[in-house]
Amino acid sequence: MGVFQSLGRSGLRLCHMIGSIALFIVFSLRWCLIPPFYGRQIVRQLIDVGYYSLPVVGLTTLFSGMVLALQSYTGFARFSAEDTVATVVVLSVTRELGPVLAGLMVAGRVGASIAAEIGTMRVTDQIDALETLSTRPMQYLVGPRLIAGTICLPILVLIGNIIGVFGGYLVGIYRLGFNSSVYLSKTLEFLEFSDVMLGLLKAAIFGFIIALMGCYHGYYSGRGAEGVGKATTNAVVSASILILIANYSVTALFFG
């Protein structure tokens, strides 16, 4: 009986969470579209989410591109297909590694920071104070973060893609001994516009997910330091899992 009770309780809790996230999405999207628009808040978030994430995303994609070049060379050398290394690097980075790695890194940096900031505002009554000052907290806190997340991540991924491909190029030329112009021509030969666009579409979805999970868990944070800590952990874990699920879903949708 105890097992069924706890299963039922978990099921109800899951349904409650899904419903509450769905409502949160509806309300936050609504407040993104209705004036007043808090321009200064949006700019602040664009800088926080975009500009300050650039070093993390740049380093991650640089080393991923480099290691991908080494590993694919090792694999392809076994059936004499070394000349496909450049193509594999550029396709893997633009279609898959760039968006996913940047998404996961930004989820750790920005998702945690959003949840901690909004959670602290919740436990110190700052969100109630906003309400008493005739400002809608959803519009002031959530809207700008969702907009910034959705805009910034594709830009970060685009820059990360260039850095990642450059990392592969460096390894290809200086470690594996490829000819520079051949490597570059192979890089561009099979790359299609749709590959880049698919990566950027994924990035926009991931950016929205990261900001949404940060805002949701922060907004409904429990009391005290423990509540904020849990909110931060939940924001990062749920954003990371949802990014992986969304990644497969979008890839499957545009497969072929």
Binding site: M121, T124, D125, Q126, D128, T132, L133, S134, T135
Partner: protein, 272 residues
């Protein structure tokens, strides 16, 4: 109630009920405030004072009851009506609730800037004027809340609450955590600000020295309802043992009977 008396009532709270998980924090709470009256709501910790205040300003929805401001029902208002009503209120929170990410001048003029689109220079001038009335120098304008002392934070919170000259002011424990001298200063500031604005004021406080300094009327909340309400001069002669115990700070009495019994039971269990 005569027409004259009815006209004089600013806020009327009637028969308010609010429960959390089946525990009724407000259990038939009723209170009225006259125009320009300063009322202090006292009661033991956890007696529901802050919940009553949050219900009044609409941060919490009561289970049932009625709240009117100038004879206008506020429970069940539409969002625009509620927002219009909020513009008539100014509130300070127990721990200040200043916005960490904004400097002092932006905290003080937060509502004014939303309403009037002031430029930075005008907003700083207004914030500086209000803060100087509260005894704070212009140097604090650019500081962030984390860089201020507890007393300064309380003053900035009061400045934010009065910046838009509200008709109704709510103070949630404005002197908690402050030394007696700073508490006295804060009380003076509240009194001066309220007199200057002519605002109706509801203050929550545990501090009887503050209550005596700022209140015209005192109401005591116990078990979710008001057990006594009257002028401050009568507080020592209510004939109600709960009020007497609270006012004189006696450790034993009707307010602590249950707590003492629980403590004794626990001690017995431990010794067994």
């Amino acid at each position: 109630m005569t027409d004259e008396k009815k006209r004089n009532v600013k806020i009327k709270i009637s028969n308010l009920f609010k429960n959390f998980g089946g525990d009724y924090v407000l259990n038939g709470f009723s209170l009225s405030l006259k125009k320009s009256e300063s009322l202090c709501l006292i009661g033991t910790s956890g007696s529901g004072k802050s919940v009553a205040l949050k219900c009044l300003i609409g941060l919490l929805s009561p289970d049932s009851g009625s709240i009117t401001v100038d004879d206008q029902e506020t429970i069940g208002q539409s969002r625009p009506q509620h927002e219009a009503m909020l513009k008539r209120f100014g509130m300070t929170f127990q721990f200040g609730a200043l916005f960490d990410s904004l400097p002092v001048w932006e905290n003080v003029t937060f509502r004014l800037r939303q309403k009037e689109k002031l430029n930075k220079k005008e907003a700083k001038e207004i914030a500086g004027d209000i803060l100087s009335q509260l005894g704070l120098a212009h140097q604090v304008l650019e500081l962030f809340p984390a860089e201020l002392s507890g007393g300064m934070q309380k003053r900035v919170a009061i400045a934010r609450a009065i910046a838009d000259k509200p008709e109704i002011l709510l103070f949630d424990e404005p002197t908690s955590g402050l030394d007696p001298i700073t508490s006295g200063v804060i009380n003076d500031l509240i009194l001066n600000s309220v007199n200057r604005l002519g605002a109706t004021t509801l203050t929550i406080s545990h501090d009887m020295a503050s209550v005596r300094q700022i209140a015209d009327t005192v109401a005591m909340l116990h078990n979710g309802r008001i057990i006594w309400c009257g002028p401050i001069k009568d507080i020592n002669h209510t004939g109600i043992s709960e009020v007497d115990q609270f006012v004189n700070g006696k450790p034993y009495g009707p307010l602590t009977t249950n707590k003492r019994e629980t403590l004794q039971t626990k001690q017995t269990e431990i010794s067994v």
